[in-house]
Amino acid sequence: MSVTTAAGEEIGDPEAGREAFKECAACHEIGAGAENGIGPHLNLIFGRQAGSLEDYVYSPSLKRMGANGLVWDLRTLDAYIENPQSLVSGTRMSYPGMGDPDRRADLLAYLRKFSADPANIPEAAPTALPTKPDLDPEILAIEGDPAYGAYLSSECTTCHRRDGSDEGIPSITHWPEEDFVAAMHAYKQKLRPHPVMQMIAGRLSDEEIAALAAYFANPEQ
């Protein structure tokens, strides 16, 4: 039985992005030995606070956005490249913007290769896009399947104790199913603040949450 197909989506095609970067290369350098020119160098751009290179003189607008908390990631860089003025009014980046989203994705995939690797710096930015839960119809049809919940629960039990012990990390066993479902959706919608749980719940489908609720309601069975 085959196990699964590849799930995550690459950001774009970095080789095509290398071509797209030629539009940027008049002002920006990237790669070994890259230096600031008309624009700042773009090594380690992902995860960098906007306007934070010490040896480059930014526009006051970009400095202000950085001070306000703008950090370059997939989402913010995509918006900036699409239309610089829409994200940072008054930026000196005199570039009309790249309208084609696929081309931007390729460019971002190319730029991403010159930033920190999450294997070495775990807080580094993503290198792929999450896929929306897209399971077989057979699995999607299963409502609250405890067997599927038992499988999914293995991700929970790295931290939560299956025996219900409550030590630093709360117990999640023997909850009424509706309470479990409500809590998980609250994390998924980022209403509950815990970042680990927001991340874990964020990629669970409704069916998966139901399956987990069914399993943890009575994990001994």
């Binding site: 039985m1 085959s2 196990v3 699964t4 197909t5 590849a6 799930a7 995550g8 989506e9 690459e10 920190a116 690797d117 999450p118 294997a119 070495n120 710096i121 775990p122 807080e123 580094a124 930015a125 993503p126 290198t127 792929a128 896009l129 999450p130 896929t131 399971l135 699995i139 067997a147 599927y148 499988y151 999914l152 293995s154 991700e155 039990t157 790295t158 931290c159 939560h160 104790r161 299956r162 025996d163 012990s165 030590e167 630093g168 990390i169 970042p195 680990v196 927001q198 991340m199 874990i200 964020g202 990629r203």
Partner: protein, 420 residues
Amino acid sequence: MSLNRRDFLGASAAAAVMMAAPRVNGQARPHVVVVGGGAGGATAARYIAKDSKGAIDVTLIEPTRTYYTCFFSNLYIGDFRTLDSLAHSYGTLASEYGINVVHDWATGVDRDAKEVALAGGGRVGYDALVLSPGIDFVEGSVPGWDITAQNKMPHSYKAGSQTELLKAQVLSMREGGVYCMVAPPNPYRCPPGPYERVSMVAHQFKQNNPTATILILDPKPKFSKQALFEEGWQKHYPGMIQRLGPDFGGGNVEVRPDSMEVVIDGSPEKVDVCNVIPAQKAGRICHEAGLTEGNWAPVVPATMQSRMDENVYILGDATSQGDMPKSGYSANSQAKAAAMAIRGALTDARTFPPRYSNTCWSLIAPEDGVKVGASYEPTEEKIAKTDGFISATGEDAAQRKATYEESLGWYSGITSDMFG
């Protein structure tokens, strides 16, 4: 074809017998051999045995009878844990899960015959093999240091007696002495580990030897949780810690264990304790089995199968898999994906898409914990990061305390997940 109730019951009973009894051709039930009983191997062995409900025989080969977790071993150096609290036995895996635990070294793999050779002379056949051997060190990566020097200059990057040794050296260091850490180049086990260790050593010095100093020689320009650690060091241990990155010679270091010197860019410096963490590579058995490219063992992202042998699954620090850091949590997460894939391959078990995640906590000072974590998905090319988070600088004390307490809960959770 429609089945009546009697046919259905008969078919189910026959299927159950086939699952539980030896195959009619004389072969035993499918047999999985797991080499290495850490976060990857112990988890994989337990999940395969537990979830196959007797349909798969599992043998776990691990040389040590008592396993000391690398994770939290820094906390022992800082007096936040006892060494005993990091020790785990394999008794429950044997008694409750029926795993055949063999305390021996795996010395080679005959992939054609599907057999593992043991140092004690035995050979164990397998239908699927799991290798989770952790790391070994790259010889010559720190000039002047080799395994014969590890008593004078401990690495303490495999937990147990080395951790005890380093702590003893730290506690007996002369007043105002210098503790030096030679940090490893990427990639290596536990990216924030060396810097959490520095925090724990600094905590010891603050209590017992406040004029001592710490010198980090680092070949990397930046490191994990850097902003959080540097903020914490400034707050809790001002003036105690100096780090030389590659721009200041941190990447050009030689050590002289006999004279307790480190040579930085050609300049010798006398130190009192020297913690050398060399460059790393996959545990030796992966190289012996011919499953490595360079220093690491490449794997198929969705299943953790070796890229070179579909009957071998490789887990944890030894692998080259993509974006997941080398951590106990990662190994535990990968082990569950592999266990499911193996059950799918060897029995008719249902399989589901793998779910990879990692969270890593570090302690900077008493009740000042920070964390970083991410979720991952397999692509054809690698296990790729898709989301993540990190503690913020400037968090209040209550949040940091809660993060530390959460890490204690995680330790309890993951060790029960590994050892039952």
